[in-house]
């Protein structure tokens, strides 16, 4: 990407100082560096620079620009009107117009005129690549004393000693100053729910709440916290927050959005790290330099499988496998890593200094490239490849064994290749080639990780890119730390084996050194945020000047210092925070306090918080009893609605069908595909998977209500919920409601709530009773589907409809262009009711269709072979043709036996009846006989069923007549109106504010 930018804003810019000529006109130099050099680089260097010198003119150094070209001198300092350069850019002479393709903007021309007018100041004489990399960073913006005194850059101060007391001291002090009274403690029930949601993202059971309510021991809450921290559910909750920060996803994005195999190992690693309470300094080391841990100095520090997996950190971002400009794309890739490192660990927006000095923070452009220099030796991202020469996929397991295996395999391949060259016989050549393909680049018996490798022990050269332009290299820089924190050059940490520079290790060590003021503060603040709904510094990813300063800086420092002293233990940090009075406060609003501090900046109360998408979904799963707590692995593919599938250019490609129990796993295990989002999670504000972010927005919009009220996932869980209740407490209505409350809200209902609930359940039960004969069918996939995905689906996955007591057929899918199959709407998926076989008889039902429906109706004498529809008759309405027809299907052939015009409207009921006797087939609409047909090649007996495509069809009173008896056809599930009503109440509970908000 071309980040070439012409001048934007001047004002807070730092001032470039040329080290060789301190006395030179500063304003002139600044103007040159800000406006002129980039302008020349962007518009002129391609023809008048290092590579080409059209017209023998070169414009990239002072000496050459002053020398001029074929046409002579181009600049007369101080006299723009006499300068050829100015004439050329002004297009005054028809024969000399530069740049030839597009005239510069008025502003740019003005800048050049001004510059020549000012005497054409050009700092130094040596041109663009002047500064020796052995000295230090090139001189750039001046870091002032005030910059260094910005709160985030000051050393962490140790305040206070006693842990829990101290958090509260810092808070009460400020409240006292303002005369605000702090809230009392939350009730026990509220407190334990808060703790459960905070640490697990799941609610406690009613029994756990009760036990806590009666536990009078002084360490009652501590015991709860310890229990929660000891469960694997904890890492599944907190790991997710980190995954947001590192823009975790399992695919590359862009056109192919192909999978990043083994990205999930990183997710599992993070969960494991939280559960094991891996010291955060070690976590940072592993993320940034997990492959560089084999220390020469310290035998206890070693690269492990986990630490290799951790380096997947660098590979999680979006990766364009078909970039427009390879060179620019390589820098974009590095940029993504730089931004993520700076956001995640430093809480700074170093990325803003890619093209110019940071506009607000003391981060010179050179700092950006000095940070890049740490990463520059990482091998580029490559497509999946499982051999020792892959830079992106590395083997796990016992090093020596793995090495040996790969070496043997590679030797074998070499040998085979050698053979191939000597053999003449074509067949034999082919055989050997096959043998090579058989073993080469296969995963083999070893496990692999998505990780990094460097190019070698010698650091790659890194240059500042002028204006961020990949083809305008400026001075060379070396790996160095942020200027505002001293700006020292990094000393690589030598590691055993020497396959890499040891620079990233140095970066990691710098980050976790006790004197680094940012790392601990940033992490402590992230943890605090998830306990209070807001960081002590509210902008958790930005500790710079565009962020908000901490409301309680001393508290932040106290926690940061304490965090490091306690061995960077995150679990200890949770305990310290959660045991404070501040954490345990009620979240109720005190009007008086709200008047003085409406935003609760001073923490006179806790914050009521909306659960995150994952916690909402996981809680629904838990209380319904459906939660599958399987851990780890590639993850599951949530069932996507047809519009989500339709959004792909090969609809469904890259998505899979997980078995039903897998679908009930915790949300953190949902497969993350960059170009296909999961609406259930997306609607409730999950993160943007392409950019790092430590905070999610919380919105309240109508689609969320629709999602929680009507989504299939929610209703399936509600059915589980109802079944569970009936199983647990039997038929007693009052007990059922009580149990529903206990499960969903960890409490008993109030008297009034009980009344409301029972009344509701009763009313719904009778409503469902009245709907007993109503069936709904709807396509569950779009009309065009990628063949690979379609293959994975069962016939029952193609239509939404009653499942038990029904059989489904796939119908006919044609086309196949580019692997995409399209349904033949009139011969699409259909369903038959089991046990309704007849030769002579009829099937009837009242049919309601939605607009956009292509075909809808009833079938008789339908025969299925497995999931394939073999033969049958149908009576269907075709809204697009405004007609009704009797058709005969046999294999792929369909024949219209009779047709009549009939205006079809969506939203209207049509009473259909298909009657067959021997070869004679009669169709009725609303009791009137409208179609009669004879089929000489009459089909044999078969079952009754329905056909539908395009949109939803509702059928009421479907019945089969055979042998003079009417047999109503119901939704075959063993799920009565009472249970349905109870499930409906479950849905109500899942939708309550009390369910999705934590006090």
């Amino acid at each position: 990407m071309r980040q070439l930018i012409t001048v934007l804003v001047v004002g807070v810019m730092g001032v470039w100082v040329d080290s060789a000529r301190g006395a030179e006109d500063r304003a002139g130099v600044e103007f040159f560096e800000m406006s002129i050099r980039p302008l020349l680089a962007e518009n002129c260097y391609s023809c008048h620079g290092e590579k080409k010198q059209k017209g023998e003119l070169r414009l990239d150094s002072k000496a050459s620009i002053m020398r001029g070209g074929e046409l002579g001198v181009v600049i007369v300092p101080g006299k723009p009107e006499e300068s050829l350069l100015i004439k050329a850019v002004k297009y005054t002479d028809a024969d000399l117009q530069m740049p030839p393709k597009k005239k510069l903007s008025e502003k740019q021309i003005g800048d050049l005129v001004k510059w020549v007018g000012m005497g054409a100041v050009w700092p130094g004489d040596a041109g663009a690549v002047a500064i020796s990399p052995t000295t230090t960073k090139p001189a750039g913006m001046v870091i002032t004393e005030a910059d260094r005194k910005w709160w985030a850059f000051l050393p962490i101060q140790r305040h206070g000693r006693d842990a829990h007391a101290t958090i509260d001291v810092f808070i009460t002090e400020k409240l006292k100053e303002k005369g605000i009274a702090q809230n009392p403690s939350a009730s026990r029930r509220e407190l334990i729910r808060r703790a459960y949601f905070d640490l697990w993202g799941l609610p406690p059971t009613a029994r756990e709440v009760e036990a806590f309510e009666v536990d009078q021991s002084p360490d009652a809450f501590e015991k709860v916290i310890d229990k929660l921290l000891a469960s694997p559910r904890y890492g599944e909750r907190w790991g997710r927050y980190w995954l947001d920060v590192v823009r975790y996803a399992q695919t590359n994005g862009y056109e192919r959005d192909s999978e990043k195999p083994y990205a999930w190992r990183y997710r599992d690693y993070v969960i494991r790290a939280f559960n094991e309470d891996k010291p955060y300094d070690q976590f940072v080391r592993e993320n940034l330099a997990g492959d560089e841990l084999d220390s020469i100095a310290d035998k206890n520090v070693r690269t492990t499988d986990d630490s290799l997996i951790a380096t997947g950190f660098y590979r999680l971002g979006a990766w364009d496998d078909e970039p427009d400009d390879k060179r620019a794309a390589d820098y974009d890739y590095l940029d993504d890593d730089i931004r993520t490192i700076s956001t995640a660990f430093l809480g700074l927006t170093v990325g803003c200094a890619r093209c110019h000095e940071h506009k607000f923070d003391p981060i010179p452009q050179a700092d950006y490239y000095s940070l890049m220099a740490f990463l520059r030796n990482i091998r580029p991202h490559d497509a999946p490849k499982y051999s020792s020469d892959s830079g992106t996929f590395v083997p796990l397991g016992e090093r020596e064994k793995v090495k040996q295996f790969l070496a043997e395999r590679e030797a074998k391949i070499k040998e085979l290749k050698g053979q191939m060259e000597t053999v003449k016989d074509k067949e034999e050549k082919k055989r050997i080639e096959g043998e090579i393909n058989e073993i080469a680049d296969k995963k083999g018996p070893i496990e692999w990780a998505l990780a990094i490798k460097e190019k070698g022990a010698t650091p790659a050269k890194t240059n500042i890119l002028l204006r961020g332009n990949a083809s305008a290299e400026g001075p060379e820089v070396r790996a160095a730390f942020l200027s505002v924190l001293g700006g020292q050059l990094a000393a690589p940490i030598k590691i055993q084996g020497g396959g890499s520079t040891g620079l990233r290790r140095a970066l990691a060590e710098w980050l976790v050194s006790p004197s680094n003021p940012l790392t601990a503060r940033v992490m402590v603040n992230r943890i605090w945020q998830h306990h209070f709904g807001r960081g002590i510094a509210a902008t958790v990813d930005d500790f710079g000047k565009t962020g908000l300063p901490p409301t309680h800086p001393e508290l932040l420092d106290f926690l940061a210092a304490r965090f490091m002293e306690e061995g960077w233990s995150i679990k200890k940090l949770h305990r310290i925070i959660m045991l404070s009075n501040a954490y345990r406060m009620s979240s109720r609003v005190n009007e008086k306090a709200a008047e003085i501090d409406p935003d609760n900046q001073l923490l006179w109360r806790q914050s009521m918080r909306r659960l995150e998408a994952e916690a909402i979904r996981d809680s629904v799963l838990l209380v319904s009893g459906d939660l599958n707590e399987k851990q780890g692995g590639r993850g599951f593919f949530p069932r996507l609605s047809r519009e989500s599938i339709a959004g792909g250019s090969r609809p469904g490609d890259g998505w899979e069908l997980s078995p039903p129990d897998e679908l009930n796993r915790r949300s953190i295990y949902a497969y993350v595909k960059r170009t296909m989002t999961v609406p259930m999670l997306d609607t409730f504000d999950t993160n943007n998977t392409s950019l790092p972010s430590g905070e999610r927005t919380v919105t309240t919009v109508a689609p969320q209500a629709l999602m929680l009220m009507n989504d299939r996932f929610v209703h399936e869980r509600a059915e589980g919920f109802a079944k569970r209740i009936v199983q647990e407490v039997g038929d007693d209505e009052a007990r059922q409601v009580e149990r529903a409350y206990e499960l969903a809200l960890s409490r008993k209902p109030t008297e009034r709530e009980r009344e409301i609930a029972m009344e509701y359940v009763r009313r719904q039960a009778s409503a469902y009773e009245a709907l007993r004969g109503r069936l709904r069918f709807e396509p569950d996939v779009p009309s065009s589907v990628y063949s690979g995905y379609l293959k994975k689906l069962g016939a029952g996955d193609l239509l939404i409809g009653p499942k038990s007591g029904w059989k489904y057929a796939r119908g006919i899918w044609g086309g196949g262009y580019e692997g995409i199959l399209s349904v033949e709407p009139g011969q699409g998926p259909c369903a038959v009711a089991e046990g309704t076989k007849f030769l002579d008889g009829s099937v009837q039902g009242k049919v309601l269709i939605q607009n956009g429906c292509e075909v809808a109706g009833l079938m008789a004498r339908a025969k299925l072979s497995g999931e394939e529809f073999v033969a049958g008759y149908d009576l269907v309405i075709a809204p697009k043709a405004d007609s009704v027809m009797i058709r005969r299907h046999e294999k792929k052939e369909v024949r219209v036996l009779a047709v009549a015009g009939l205006p079809i409207e969506g939203g209207e009921w049509y009473g259909l009846k298909l009657e067959i006797k021997g070869p004679r087939i009669v169709g009725y609409v609303d009791g009137k006989r409208v179609l009669v047909a004879e089929d000489p090649k009459s089909l044999g007996e078969g079952e009754a069923g329905v056909r539908i495509w395009g949109a939803t069809m509702t059928i009421e009173g479907m019945a089969v007549w055979r042998g003079g008896n009417a047999e109503p056809i119901y939704d075959g599930r063993n799920f009565g109106a009472r249970e349905k009503a109870l499930a409906a109440f479950g849905v109500v509970l899942f939708n309550l504010n009390e369910f999705v908000y934590v006090d």
Binding site: Q3, A318, D324, P598, D599, S784, Q850
Partner: protein
Amino acid sequence: MGNQSQFCGRTRREFLWEMGAGFTGVALSALLQRDGFAFGAPAQATPLAARPAHFPGKAKACIFLFMYGGPSQMDLFDYKTKLQESDGKSIDIEIRRGSIQKQTILGSKRKFSQHGQSGLWISDALPHLYQHADKLAVVKSLYADSFAHGSAMIQMNSGRILQGHPALGAWMGYGLGTRNENLPGFVVMLDPRGGPISGAANWSSGYMPAAYQGTVFRSAGQPILNLAPGGGMTAKMQREQIDVIGQLDSEHLADRPGYSELQARIASYELAFRLQTSAPEALDISQEDERTREMYGLNEEADRNVRPTMHALSLGPAPFGRQCLIARRLVERGVRFVQIYSGGGHQQQNWDAHNGIEENLKIHCPEIDKPIAALLADLQQRGLLEETLVVWGGEFGRQPVSQGSLGRDHNPKGFSYWLAGGGVKGGTSYGETDELGHEAVANRHHIRDLHATILHLMGLDHHKLTYFYGGLNQRLTGVIPAEPIRGIIA
């Protein structure tokens, strides 16, 4: 970023954490009085609340007809006599970034003619469009940054070739809010053959809240996911469900005064209920008269038995026509931004004419020609054209040389877009490519200028429309200076 005083970012940051902390009691009461889209944050943080434009824009809504795959400029609008004359000659030409190859010039087989008072050139591939020549402003000198679909699509939609940034429709929702709280503000309709490359990334809200992202509208049945009552309920039962949720929620609320976000969430259920009626109504084209249906081509189903002249891969005008008609109904009802994708899947299923330009035109032009002509006429007869901006184009254009023997490869260096309606100077041919139609040479505009133009016509200044993310006031048009294309603005 141009204005220093606006750039402290403070308001934006506060806004973000207030949404996170979700509480300020004061501003919300006013919001709730509106009984509209309700959010748990102060009024200025209400994602879809209507907001004043930066200046009065002519257009209030925008319909973006996206020709996915990249339509060929030199076969549709960019008439080049020299191209025709040079057919079969060989030249050196940039085919992929930095890759210059010897290629054979492929003249256009289409016949061009001039139309309207303006004498705009239109090829015979789009004959229905002739009548609207004086409404169109064709920009023939656009260029973009990528030769590849993936990044080019994302750039056309979000301004960047990198994934993760908000789409144009999201920017409009953010800048202007909604005109009808009962419908989504940013609607996307997909080709029946499939979505575009990069899928949902094309209508993503990027770093903005999810409320701004495009809603994929089904063109049949219930337009929005989960609009129909779940669990086999009827509308009446859903109503009862919402009532009981509200009842129980108000018990909960009574004990938690001051938390207006709870009230906001209660209100969102009422809005959801209204959506259940208003969204299907917007989609119900059976309300349209026969003349209208005919005009949009809805009666021309792609039945090969009836229309043997139609290409086997062509869907005929009906699907796109239905979507154009729905688009008109949506803007009529206040939807801010509607994007319709013509073409889906790969190769000849969309405008990506590698395998044959003539065949490609034969497939896709009849799909869009009549519907677009109908849309323009319909908007005009209803007096909607003045306040509706219609934009037509793809992610890039195509090469003047042949690929294989009959196809044309990608070309981001010069391609055409046309705009019509609100604030557009109709009957304009603006800018030029070189004599072969390969590269923009006169009045060149990067597509960021196209974005700036679209925003401008909607009353938004692309400098001022910023969203704070990652330490920066982000803009749709990015950091490189952009300007509206004045030559096509009325």
